[in-house]
């Protein structure tokens, strides 16, 4: 069996094992682990767009919010009707949650398509700004959409997210991205990243590759959003503003663009760092931003990128 498949199976087995013992584990540890997992999904999916395909999206939190709202809508509005008063069995709840996550992911992917088709004609800084703009527009729309709570946010989302679901989707996201990029088709992403004009000259439809990367990235951002909503049990539009997008971008860049393992490590580090700095909570964002500047000056190729001698962007 190829290696990525083995890893996926190992992650799923690990997820089963962990969720079996999760009752006996420290709840704080589980909370942190869930946060780490959600951030890994976000960072790995953004890495497909920003790292492998070489586009610069600053709107990932927007897709995350679409997924979070749609998934929450499924379990808040459809859930009681399908499961009845009692709340249903664990299996029923699980399948409802899976359906909710997939709905969230698909809605985010649709949003990704709608945003990607017009904006991916642009490059570099301009693309970054347009995606940022779309992210903010999505936020304002949710703020004004009363059926989903408006500016106050959506409350009372059932707490379906368990460590099993998080790890399973982490495994799935890493698996899909790795297999996609290493496939024959996926070489097109790397070619688009390396030299767009040359790729077009050899007959690749670079726009198509960019859109595919964007849509897949958005799908996983949407599922991450769904997991996040069912973990926090309440979501507000301001929780998905462009600071959140930047947080994800920073993970990708620190990990080394186009290096899935590095990005995973960076996501873990950057989620744990604020937790570790909690005793000096007032200063933690200062340390975080200083670290960002120093790392960019000292290791521009990313913290965990050991493959290349010099920065390869």
């Amino acid at each position: 069996m190829p290696r990525p498949h083995l890893y996926l199976l190992a992650t799923l087995a690990c997820a089963f094992g962990l969720s079996h013992f999760s009752g006996r584990m420290d709840p704080y540890f589980l909370d942190v682990l869930t946060g780490v997992g959600i951030n890994i999904i976000l960072a790995v999916s953004l890495n497909l767009v920003n790292g492998y395909t070489g586009q610069f999206s600053l709107g990932h939190a927007g897709f995350m919010s679409v997924g979070a709202y749609m998934a929450a809508a499924v379990s808040v509005f459809l859930g009681p009707r399908l499961l009845g008063e009692s709340g249903g069995t664990a299996l029923q709840q699980g399948s409802l949650f899976l359906a909710a996550l997939i709905t969230g992911g698909c809605a985010a992917a649709l949003a990704g398509l709608a945003v990607g088709v017009p904006s991916l004609r642009l490059k570099g800084d301009y693309l970054a700004l347009v995606t940022l703009g779309f992210g903010e527009i999505i936020r304002v729309i949710f703020q004004n959409f009363e059926p989903l709570g408006g500016a106050l946010g959506l409350n009372g989302i059932p707490a379906y997210t368990t460590i099993f679901w998080v790890l399973a989707f982490v495994g799935l996201a890493v698996f899909v991205v790795t297999c996609l990029v290493n496939s024959t088709y996926g070489r097109g992403f790397l070619a688009t990243h390396d030299d767009e004009i040359a790729s077009e000259a050899v007959g690749l439809n670079t726009t198509r590759y960019k859109i595919v990367a964007f849509v897949i990235g958005a799908f996983f951002a949407g599922t991450a959003g769904g997991l996040y909503g069912h973990f926090k049990m309440t979501i507000t539009p301001t929780g998905f503003d462009f600071t959140k997008s930047i947080e994800i971008v920073v993970m990708v860049i620190l990990g080394g663009m186009g290096n899935t393992l590095g990005v995973i490590l960076a996501a873990i580090l950057l989620t744990l760092l604020p937790e570790l700095l909690r005793p000096i909570a007032e200063y933690r964002m200062i340390i975080y931003s200083l670290m960002l500047i120093v790392l960019m000056l000292a290791r521009p190729q990313g913290l965990f990128n050991f493959k290349f001698g010099k920065a390869k962007l």
């Binding site: 800084d125 700004l129 304002v140 920073v250 931003s289 500047i293 000056l297 521009p300 920065a311 962007l313």
Partner: protein, 296 residues
Amino acid sequence: MSEFLQQLLNGLSLGAIYALIALGYTMVYGVLRFINFAHSDVFMVGAFIGYYLGKLVPEGTLWGGMLVLSGAMIGCALLGMFIERVVYRPLRHGPTLNVLITAIGVSLLLEYTGQIVFGAAPRTFPQIFPTANYHVGSLTISSNQLFVIGVAILLMIALQLIVFKTKIGTAMRAVSLNPKAAQLVGVNNNVVISFTFGLGSALAAAGGILYAMNYPSIDPLMGVMPGLKAFVAAILGGIGNIPGAALGGLLLGTVETFIGGSQFSTYKDAIAFAILIVILLFKPAGLLGKFTIEKV
């Protein structure tokens, strides 16, 4: 009709502030080709310098106000030059994305340091200039609004003179056209870039004080939204183009004020980004920018 004029006036005074911030973005983009995300926080620092200086001078006097304004401009010019020297210069030949991330880092650093030093709670900005309300027909014009528009126009004329009539301005335009060729004919790029940052930051500080006068509450995160919108204004007018930034700022401020006064007021924050997307899709070079063909 009078309501229309009133809104137009409000819009122009907001637009004048956007224009001042947009000029800083556009100038830095012109010489270095990158988005200085920290610019919006220099704007915030400007407002805070104004706040502290404003306590030292008697309130509501013209000379005191002028002193505060120039003090904040000098302070922010120094800050901008310091940031450029320490953070951006070592990265000048690095990949654009790294510079962008570093700029985001500087922006976060200024915001969160601001929250520690100045405190996170909003504060009331002192009335540093004399105030009065004039009534023309059914129109109410506050002296602050006139002042904002007047100062903005004066600063833009000064900027235009610096860029087109002085030696350093010629050097700025040379670096913006072609940095290597400029260096070959004897322009010291480091000095020019440093000067550009200083000038842009001084304008941001002026924008910060004018903004704080009209919306008399300041906090360490106040720069984020005006900063983003000013950048949209810079693109709207054509990035790297100084009159374009002014035009973009005025247009954006006016449109936003009119939307704010209509039934769609809750969508006010989205309108700037909608404009951004439309302009980038249909006229990527901006209203006054020149379209350049990409060569291999």
